[in-house]
């Protein structure tokens, strides 16, 4: 997962910045709304004049919002810079609760004082008591601004966290669907399909029994391809059978240019394997190894046990890796790596190396942890 795992949102893009700005002002508007609600509640509880109370609470609420939300920014940026790249912290504009509590306390006190002063100036009434050290009004400060500020901050935080999670889930789902489509497209490659059909069409005329056998293999291959993404695993034996179907179709097409060899020790035949895990490797061997080679060559698919690991190898005697770095081999390899990472984490590895023996070609090796003895296969 190199390019694909990069954050789905580019944090510096103008689009993202606009979204951020939009959310900032939305929070401001909502805070004004809360101020109005608090003003109504206070009017109801104390019987003070509605107009004056509303001006006070809206001024105070907007100032509290302003100091808290603006104060959050440099701290979030500071956190952002110190977080390791690609970690969730690096992508969030949330500085974390401990820092945020400090900002809420300072921001709401500042907001209460500045907002109160602003409201007094607007209404022409004398400065409120808390600026003169009145205990009663200091308690009022805590009740009417600090507590709501905390609640509202928590509310904004959880709302946006949920929204961000939902967006991330959607992006992940879309990527999964796209990957599956690409996988299908790569396996049901039209060029392969039409060439196979062209061969079958010829074979029907000259050798019907063989044509029927080939058609059965094509059907088995198509069925396996279409259902591979839906079942979690199948026995190694079944994996080899599907690769045989695929390579039999290729043998029909390539004639003497393709030889195949399979090695599957009977004691490994029932080990579970994600369906068609090896398919992209075999396909790469054909497409980038043997098809470009005038004389063709051999593909060997092998399973061996190495201590606590299952080693799966696909080797070809094709043109090797020199010319393939720039073209389409990466999708197949990336896809195998991603599946391995999802299923086995760090315990599975895929490597692709050039063979430097006389026959040349390429060797792809997958190492998987063997299931613990006695575990159900």
């Amino acid at each position: 997962m190199t390019s694909m795992s990069a954050s789905p949102l580019d944090l510096t893009s103008p689009e993202v910045r606009n979204q951020r700005r939009g959310r900032f002002w939305m929070r401001g508007l909502r805070s004004l709304g809360f101020g109005a609600v608090i003003g109504l509640v206070i009017t109801g509880l104390t019987g003070q004049s509605l107009g004056t109370t509303m001006v006070h609470s809206i001024c105070i609420a907007s100032m509290c919002w302003f100091f808290i939300d603006v104060g959050r920014m440099p701290l979030a940026r500071w956190k952002h810079r110190n977080a390791p790249a690609n970690s969730p912290e690096a992508e969030s504009h949330w500085p974390g609760w401990p820092l945020m509590l400090v900002i809420v306390v300072i921001g709401s006190i500042l907001g209460f004082m500045v907002g109160g002063t602003l409201a007094s100036w607007l209404t022409g009434l004398p400065m409120p008591g808390y600026l003169r050290g009145s205990l009663r009004q200091t308690v009022a400060l805590v009740l009417t601004s600090l507590v709501p500020a905390l609640i509202i901050t928590y509310w904004f935080y959880s709302r946006e966290t949920i929204a961000a999670h939902e967006a991330a889930t959607q992006v992940a789902e879309r990527q999964a669907a796209e990957n599956q489509l690409k996988l299908l497209e790569s396996q049901l490659e039209p060029h392969m399909l039409f060439n196979t059909l062209a061969n079958l069409r010829v074979l029907i005329g000259i050798d019907p029994p063989r044509a029927q056998a080939m058609l059965d293999q094509l059907i088995a291959f198509l069925r396996a391809t279409l259902s591979a993404s839906r079942s979690a695993s199948h026995p190694l034996e079944a994996e080899f059978a599907r690769l045989r179907d695929y390579l039999a179709l290729m043998e029909l097409r390539m004639g003497e240019r393709l030889q195949t060899r399979f090695e599957l020790p009977p004691e490994l035949a029932n080990l579970p394997l994600p369906p068609l895990l090896l398919q992209p490797l075999v396909e790469n061997s054909i497409k980038h190894g043997l098809e470009p080679k005038v004389d063709g060559g051999r593909i060997e698919v092998r399973a061996v046990r190495d201590g606590t690991e299952l080693v799966l190898q696909v080797r070809d005697t094709g043109v090797g890796l020199a010319g393939t770095a720039s073209d389409g081999t990466r999708f197949g390899l990336t896809q195998v790596r991603e599946r391995l990472a999802t299923l086995y984490g760090e315990q599975a590895r895929l490597s692709l190396t050039a063979c430097d023996d006389a026959e040349g070609g390429a060797l792809a090796t997958i190492r998987l942890p063997l299931p613990a003895p006695g575990a159900p296969a």
Partner: protein, 276 residues
């Protein structure tokens, strides 16, 4: 109508079937060679001089398009007209569009007999049109120029002959190994690049280097306004060319500034050399 055909198709069953279908639909057509890869197609065509060649697009070694280019460039002047070229492909999103655009004849696999009969008729018409009796030579020249135009169009089609990948960063220096030293040769000093087997010869005014990069990989890394491809195996720095003289066969002979080498641009690239 009698004619001689060459078939190049890497899949043996399909090759045999195409031959059988062609002979059934066109009894006068004799298949003089049925080969499995592009290089064999060029070699047999130059030796046997068929009237029509069927070239599969995806073949090992040379692709069908590269084989067509080689034929157009290497076809001897005294060998009569260039064979009629018909491309064969199973599926290729780039090829089909390009074929339609440049009016090249093509056959899709699986081959449909009706469609193949159509192709046979068209090839017969093209062969009749070029028969020497009564046709002035300039008409033959026009036919050749039309074929070259089609090939030029195909060779310029992204995804078919050229890469669809993002443009490669341009090279500033060529790193050539000489003994155990790497020589850094500024591209501005290179007079021309010439393909030689698996290598490319890099010629400067002073000396010559060999690099392992294939010409096909090198070309996208060169600025195509400064470096002109003039043959499938030859790329020349445009401002190093002193004169260009076209001969009667359509090839263009180039002389260089400050270098004795004489180069030949093929008919496919002759259109680059026109007076302003």
């Amino acid at each position: 109508m009698q004619a001689r055909a060459l078939i190049a198709e890497d899949e043996p069953l399909l090759a045999a079937n195409l031959q059988a279908e062609l002979e059934r639909l066109w009894p006068g057509l004799e298949t003089v060679a049925n080969v499995r890869h592009g290089a064999a197609a060029v070699e047999s065509a130059l030796a046997l001089r068929p009237d029509v060649v069927f070239l599969d697009i995806r073949m090992p070694g040379l692709s069908g398009l590269e084989a067509a280019q080689a034929l157009a460039e290497d076809w001897p002047d005294d060998a009569g007209p260039l064979p009629v070229i018909v491309f064969v492909t199973a599926y290729d999103q780039y090829a089909l569009q390009a074929f339609e655009h440049s009016a090249v004849d093509y056959v899709l696999k699986p081959v449909h007999p009706d469609r193949l009969a159509q192709t046979c008729n068209r090839v017969q018409a093209a062969l009749k049109a070029r028969q020497p009796n009564g046709h002035p030579p300039d008409q033959a020249a026009a036919a050749l120029e039309a074929t070259l135009g089609q090939l030029r169009h195909l060779l310029g089609t992204p995804g078919l002959a050229t890469s669809t990948a993002a443009p490669a960063p341009k090279l500033g220096v060529i790193q050539a190994s000489v003994g155990n030293a790497i020589h850094m040769v500024p591209v501005g000093e290179v007079l021309y690049f010439e393909a030689a087997d698996k290598y490319v010869r890099v010629i400067t005014a002073e000396r010559e280097y060999l690099i392992r990069t294939a010409l096909r990989e090198l070309i996208p890394q060169l600025d195509d306004t400064r470096f002109w491809q003039v043959h499938r195996g030859l790329v020349v720095r445009a401002d190093a060319i002193a004169t260009a003289v076209r001969d009667e066969s359509g090839k263009v002979h180039l002389t260089l500034r400050g270098h004795k080498d004489k180069l030949v641009a093929s008919r496919l690239y002759a259109h680059l050399f026109k007076a302003m």
